[in-house]
């Protein structure tokens, strides 16, 4: 099994609110309903695939998906906003998810959280102003004996310490 670290990186960038973006998003939704079906239970797989392609779920895409599945816009909006994974704005070029759960805390996670915000120059849950990096909290990656853990652009990183954070900061800057 070869797992490429690009599984969660968006393939397209930019906003979809311009007219060309809308038609791109529209043809993407058409493609996704062919793949996943038009039933209600296709909504989460479609949202995942949409975000994988575009990078986030723009508000402008909500009515397109709602129409395709014959459900209300409120239904789609409700689902997009309920789940932590779905973004309504583009993420930074790199995404660092840092575990905040108990097992990582037992291994010094709280200090690492502070240090990560400091070294990456961004607050938890925010994207740095230059768009280079988004830092997010995550609650457990299931690597609980080797924490503190992070997911850097989809790649798992264990035993995060100051030196590892420096490497991540360099990676993000590159």
């Amino acid at each position: 099994m070869i797992l490429s670290s690009s599984w969660m990186e968006p393939k397209l960038g930019g906003h979809i609110t311009d007219s060309r973006g809308i038609s791109d998003a529209s043809s993407l939704v058409d493609r996704l309903v062919v793949q996943y079906g038009r039933k209600r239970d296709a909504l989460l797989p479609i949202l995942h695939a949409f975000q994988h392609e575009i990078g986030y779920i723009d508000d402008a895409a909500v009515p397109l998906i709602a129409t395709a599945l014959n459900i209300s816009r409120a239904d789609v909006h409700g689902v997009v906003t309920f789940y932590h994974d779905f973004r309504r704005t583009p993420a930074g070029r790199h995404v660092v998810k840092l575990c905040r759960a108990e097992s990582c805390q037992a291994r010094g996670g709280a200090m690492i959280e502070e240090a990560a915000m400091d070294k990456l120059g961004v607050k938890m849950g925010e994207t740095r102003r230059d768009g280079a990096v988004t830092l997010e909290a995550i609650y457990c990656l299931g690597l609980c004996a080797i924490g503190p853990n992070a997911l850097v652009d989809g790649r798992p990183v264990a035993k995060v310490n100051a030196a590892v954070l420096d490497r991540i900061a360099d990676e993000v800057a590159a």
């Binding site: 099994m1 209600r40 989460l44 689902v79 789940y83 759960a101 805390q105 609650y139 004996a145």
Partner: protein, 527 residues
């Protein structure tokens, strides 16, 4: 060509097993990527096969290839099975994990794979359900409900379509057994689900895996496509979660598969009667379903033969947090908490004394070392005011601040609450606020100099002037009252069990909440 075995488990990869595999491959070895054996102190680890015997080296780095192949590396382990950590386990469910190539159907079959399914197919559905009942298997997700009785309900339910749903939304911190099994032995779960399908008359199954487990999702999808002919006419599909902890609650999980917000449903109706898409549904945890092939192959008695009291069989215990020998340890119920933490786990990794362990994830109680004599058993843990949950044990050393951990429990509940019921949605936020007052006030405990409510806030307290008292002891009383409301008023375990870590921290570590130090010695510890 020398065959070597290197794990591709997400934890092993996080520790560098990919570059190790690349290095052995470049050195001309035939590299087999397995799951993890489950002792992370030894990883990244490589096992070298010579004359049919596998000999381990770990931890090793990519530059150690030649010394490993010459057998001169200082971290030689000998046969991994013979290490005390592994030799003392009872691996029923995890027998193949770390041993076989997880995606090789033939390798699986060569290690007793598909035997349970063959045995089940030769039996009538009722006989399969009876076998699971006889094994004493109880839900490994945490609730401990007898699996066979759940299956019986679905078997007896009227109606055409029925579903098997696997709850692989393993969100509890300190647990990783589901992930390890799905990455290290996915066919075992597939076989268990196919057996469940035969037993209750369901032809379709879903595996709901959290999105934080990308490796498990990929492994399960690949394994399903390779096993589809074997399990036919039963069909399986993986559904990916989207970062909502509450979807580990079974009814929220069903709503999530249906494409809705993952909100908890009121019960009844039970999912066994009206579950996925309103149809009768077996919903079981990964470990429950993965225990079934062993039970069908070796018989109910072989499984029920180990255990303690009404907790039969084995539990894959996960040792996590600040622990020296962190990893997976499958053993029969009845082992004590102290044996697990000290004898197996080796105490803390930091070398400092153990102060607390949290058992069962973010909704589980914190126990002090004075309670380490409790045997691992559903009933004993419930009696001690805790829960086994998914059998994750998170170890903390003496630097832990239990008031902060109690605050975190409330904060986590606030972040992850689905919002359907008030005690959980509002109570968790109020809990954070009360704990903030306690933490702010405890250094000058009992001073009561936290700002008093004014204006509209003061009016809100007019009916309950006592609540205006900002002293630590008054706020602690308020916290207990709030926990009581959450415990009995919440719709599901998220709001209902968040009081467990909060109250256990308060009961066993009162000195962290501004109480006089002597009070901790008075805390009654009894069973």
């Amino acid at each position: 060509m020398t065959r070597v075995f290197i794990s591709r488990d997400m934890a092993s990869v996080a520790l560098g097993s990919d570059s190790l595999a690349a290095a052995f491959s470049a050195a001309g070895c035939d590299v087999v990527r397995t799951g993890s054996r489950g002792l992370f102190r030894l990883e990244p680890m490589v096992e070298v096969e010579r004359d049919g015997e596998r000999s381990g080296f770990g931890p090793v780095a990519a530059e150690d290839v030649s010394s490993v192949l010459h057998g001169t590396h200082p971290n030689a382990l000998g046969p991994v099975d013979a290490l005390p950590y592994f030799a003392s386990q009872q691996r029923f469910t995890f027998a193949r994990c770390g041993v076989i190539d997880p995606l090789d159907v033939k390798d699986y079959a060569a290690h007793d794979g598909w035997r349970g399914l063959e045995a089940a197919r030769a039996m009538a559905p009722q006989a399969v359900v009876d076998c699971v009942k006889g094994s004493g298997l109880r839900g490994r997700g945490g609730a401990g409900f007898p699996t066979g009785i759940k299956w019986q309900t679905v078997l007896d339910a009227q109606g055409g379509d029925k579903f098997i749903v696997c709850n692989a939304d393993e969100g509890d911190s300190g647990t990783f057994a589901d992930r390890m099994l799905m990455e290290g032995d996915p066919f075992c779960l597939i076989e268990g689900m196919a057996i469940a399908g035969h037993a209750v008359g369901a032809s379709r199954g879903y595996i709901y895996i959290r999105s934080e487990y990308p490796f498990a999702i990929q492994a399960m999808r690949e394994a399903i496509s390779r096993a589809s002919a074997i399990i036919a006419p039963f069909t399986l599909e993986v559904r990916e979660g989207a970062g909502a902890y509450v979807c580990g609650e079974e009814t929220a999980l069903l709503d999530s598969i249906e494409g809705k917000r993952g909100q908890v449903r009121a019960k009844p109706p039970l999912p066994a009667l009206q579950g996925l898409f309103g149809k009768p549904t077996v919903i079981n945890n990964v470990l429950s379903l993965a225990a079934v092939p062993f039970i069908l192959h070796h018989g109910a008695e072989a499984y029920a033969g180990v255990g303690f009291g009404r907790s039969r069989g084995t539990m894959p215990v996960q040792l996590a947090g600040n622990v020296k020998n962190g990893g997976l340890y499958e053993v029969g119920f009845g082992i004590t908490l102290g044996e697990l933490v000290h004898d197996i786990g080796g105490g803390t990794e930091s070398g400092r004394p153990v102060r607390a362990v949290q058992v069962g994830g973010p909704l589980g109680a914190y126990f002090p070392p004075s309670m380490f004599h409790i045997p691992f058993d559903y009933e004993k843990f419930a009696k001690a005011g805790g829960l086994i949950g998914h059998a994750g044990i998170t170890v903390f050393d003496d630097t832990v601040d239990m008031a902060h951990m109690a605050r975190f429990a409330m904060e986590f509940c606030a972040v992850e609450s689905c919002g359907k019921c008030t005690p959980c949605r509002i109570g968790s936020t109020r809990g954070v606020e009360v704990l903030d007052k306690i933490i702010a006030g405890r250094s000058g405990a009992q001073r009561g100099d936290v700002s008093l409510p004014t204006g509209l806030d003061a009016a809100l307290y007019s009916r309950a002037p006592k609540l205006k008292d900002a002293s630590v002891s008054a706020q602690t009383d308020l916290l207990r009252d709030l926990c009581d409301t959450m415990k009995f008023g919440s719709l599901c375990a998220l709001g209902g069990f968040t009081p467990y870590p909060v109250l256990s921290a308060l009961d066993y570590f009162p000195e962290d909440f501004g109480a006089p130090v002597s009070a901790s010695e008075d805390a009654e510890v009894s069973l």
